[in-house]
């Protein structure tokens, strides 16, 4: 509790104590009035002052003003009816203040909890100077400096290990509890915690550009992008208070005047009292506080699970997702190609791989890399010359004086070399030496272990259609789609086709259904932004993905997509519960108040009670571990 809250608590305790004491005393007349007023002022002086200031500034429907009118009105009624029952006014003020105190305490507490959950900000970096370690602010470390990370410390800046090995705890970033082993030459991501050994590392980025800064920036700005529910509530709050006030005014005057016209007792006191009860319920606080708090807690809980959500609006959209479109490579598959077979060998298998590896030696394509890995020996670049890339089809080059062609069916066709088509599923790389066909290499991307479960899980939680897009051949695509039980698959797509495909799928959606696109953030930025919601996977360290996506999964586990949707659904159901509950209770109180069945006591109890329950409910959104 901060100082302000402590002062408030003391005021509440003092006034509650004296209110009870006074109710047992038998003082009457003016002394009674003075004693009660003293207690009233102890609990409510600041509200009265704020109300006056509000009037000066033209803020008539300020809740302090309304509280002031309701309580002062109750006192006036007590004097007018000579009942001397001032307890009600004090009680209303007392409960209102208790509610406010609870609200500010609960919000402060949950803000602290959630930011602590996200406490990945490194405070310092160690730099070695003249053989001594010196702590400096991460902001002051230049690119290329060598920093030292001791066990138990956070990696302050994205860097590469130059000395030492250790295991890193990345759970604060990814939600993944298994530590990651790092050795010399490995990249280490800022925000992870060094667990076992001392690491010397060279920084690759400035602190401001490092992963940890980007994530913090994203999370801190997340709740600034407001959801439709939040907009609805702030609009509702804007009309609710004035509407209730006007209703109160009408309730105070119209029935009494009607009675007067009908020649009956106008019952001014009764109607006035009912109108004042209205004013007590006029504060929209329970709603206005619980909705952003729910989203904040939801986003906080999600980031703790390694799912970064850029705004409440995205959480809202995600909960309505009915179609999930996957880009195959890197999301469902590991994006790592492996040589799985070599067929129709006319010469030695090793020789085929050697020729292919040399011919592809200048290419950085994943397929070329996989052949090089399979070859496994150091490449002597002087053995290869005249490399010519045939875009999208393959490579021709001179290796050891032989003319080598490495590529797909189309390349063989253009070169007029007869080839043997392959029945295996995968990418087929034909190899020809001096115009003679020597065989083909089968390369295939490996499915992630969890992909199948991930698709099944999506279906379980209410996603209607799971679609796969890929640039791969039809055969590979259909095979993968069948294994994973995809609903639809579109293959042999160029990056531009993917946008078009997603647009078509968007047209087919129901009115309130949303489409999510899942990519690995590498060259699918246009699709990520075109879909209702773009989800980038395995984005740790990839700036482009963090920029383009609405939701970022820190690791590349496809199960997290279903989890993210579950988190969003839980959060949104809490939001709706709170909206219905808070508005519902207020409406009931208004009706009961108008009929004279609710006293001011009940009104304030309902008001504060609803707020407390709604806030506690909102905090539930934080707990997402078991979803």
């Amino acid at each position: 509790m901060n100082k302000k809250q402590k002062v408030m608590l003391i005021r509440i305790l003092i006034s509650a104590f004296f209110m009870i004491v006074l109710s047992f005393s038998s003082v009457s007349g003016l002394p009674r009035f003075i004693l009660y007023m003293a207690v009233y002022l102890v609990i409510g002086y600041d509200i009265l002052l704020k109300a006056i200031r509000g009037i000066i500034n033209g803020q008539v429907f300020d809740e302090c003003f309304l509280m002031a009118v309701a309580t002062v009105g109750a006192i006036v009624l007590a004097i007018y009816s000579k009942s001397g029952d001032y307890t009600e006014a004090i009680a209303v003020m007392l409960f209102y203040q208790i509610g406010e105190l609870f609200q500010s305490y609960a919000v402060g507490k949950s803000r602290k909890n959630i930011t602590q959950l996200m406490d990945i900000r490194p405070d310092y970096a160690n730099i070695e100077k003249n053989g001594k370690l010196e702590k400096v602010a991460p902001d002051d470390v230049e690119i290329g400096s060598v920093i030292i990370i001791q066990p138990g410390e956070k990696v302050p800046i994205d860097s590469v290990v130059v000395e030492g090995s250790s295991s890193l705890d990345t759970s604060a970033l990814t939600g993944e509890s298994l530590p990651r082993e790092v050795h010399q030459g490995d990249e280490i991501v800022s925000g992870s915690v060094n667990m076992t050994g001392v690491l010397k590392a060279r920084t690759e980025k400035e602190f401001g550009e490092s992963t940890v800064s980007k994530i913090l920036d994203m999370v801190e700005n997340a709740s600034s992008r407001k959801s439709r529910s939040e907009d609805f509530i702030s609009k509702f709050a804007r009309i609710y208070t004035p509407a209730v006030c006007i209703a109160a005014l009408a309730l105070a005057t119209i029935p009494a005047i009607l009675n007067l016209l009908l020649g009956q007792d106008p019952m001014w006191g009764t109607w006035m009292y009912r109108a004042l009860t209205f004013l007590v319920i006029s504060c929209p606080c329970a709603l206005v506080i619980s909705i952003p708090l729910s989203f904040f807690a939801g986003i906080g809980g999600a980031s703790n699970a390694g799912v970064l959500v850029k705004g409440s609006n995205y959480l809202e959209t995600l909960s309505k997702t009915k179609t999930v479109v996957f880009d195959k490579t890197g999301t469902l598959t590991q994006g790592v190609f492996e040589v799985v077979a070599i067929h129709h060998k006319a010469i030695d298998e090793e020789k085929i791989i050697e020729y292919a590896a040399y011919a592809e030696s200048a290419s950085s394509h994943p397929i070329a890399k996989s052949i090089e890995r399979y070859y496994g020996k150091e490449l002597d670049r002087s053995r290869v010359s005249d490399i010519e890339e045939k875009s999208g089809n393959g490579v021709v080059a001179k290796v050891d004086g032989h003319f080598v062609a490495v590529g797909n069916d189309k390349l063989m066709n253009t070169l007029g070399i007869e080839y043997i088509p392959c029945r295996s599923v995968g990418t087929i790389i034909h190899v020809a030496v001096d115009g003679a066909y020597v065989g083909h290499i089968v390369i295939s991307d490996v499915l992630k272990a969890d992909s199948k479960d991930a698709v099944r899980r999506l279906k379980e939680i209410g996603v209607k259609k799971v679609v796969m897009l890929t640039g791969d051949s039809k055969k590979v695509a259909n095979d993968v789609a069948a294994t994973l039980k995809m609903d639809e698959v579109f293959s042999e797509l160029l990056p531009g086709d993917k946008v078009e495909r997603v647009e078509k799928l968007l047209l087919m959606e129901g009115k309130n259904d949303k489409l999510a696109f899942v990519g690995d953030g590498i060259n699918d930025a246009p699709v990520l932004s075109r879909a209702d919601i773009g989800i980038a996977m395995g984005a740790m360290g990839s700036d482009a993905a963090i920029e383009a996506a609405d939701i970022v999964l820190m690791d590349d586990d496809p199960m997290k997509i279903a989890k993210a949707i579950r988190i969003s659904k839980k959060c949104l159901s809490i939001v709706y519960q709170n909206i219905v509950f808070a508005i519902g209770v207020k409406l009931i109180c208004l009706i009961l108040g108008a009929l004279g069945m609710a006293s001011m006591w009940l009104a304030i109890f309902a008001d504060v009670g609803v707020m407390v329950i709604a806030v506690l409910n909102a905090i539930r959104a934080l707990f997402v571990k078991n979803l």
């Binding site: 500034n57 500010s104 700005n221 709740s223 600034s224 709050a237 606080c285 206005v288 506080i289």
Partner: protein, 72 residues
Amino acid sequence: MKKSYRIEVDCANCANKMEAAARHTSGVKDASVNFMMQKMTVEFDEGVDRNHVMEEVRANCKKVESDAEVFI
């Protein structure tokens, strides 16, 4: 030009009111108050004196919620 400022406000509805007040300040293109993070993000019109505009924003916020504070 966008800039974030730390704010202090106790109730969520007051935060909404501050947002509206900031938006209606001249020189402010758009404003958004993040109650949970206690932060106000202000987008300024081209070529205005930011500090001057923020003084106005603070004054307007104080009008709607006297307890609130904007740290410029």
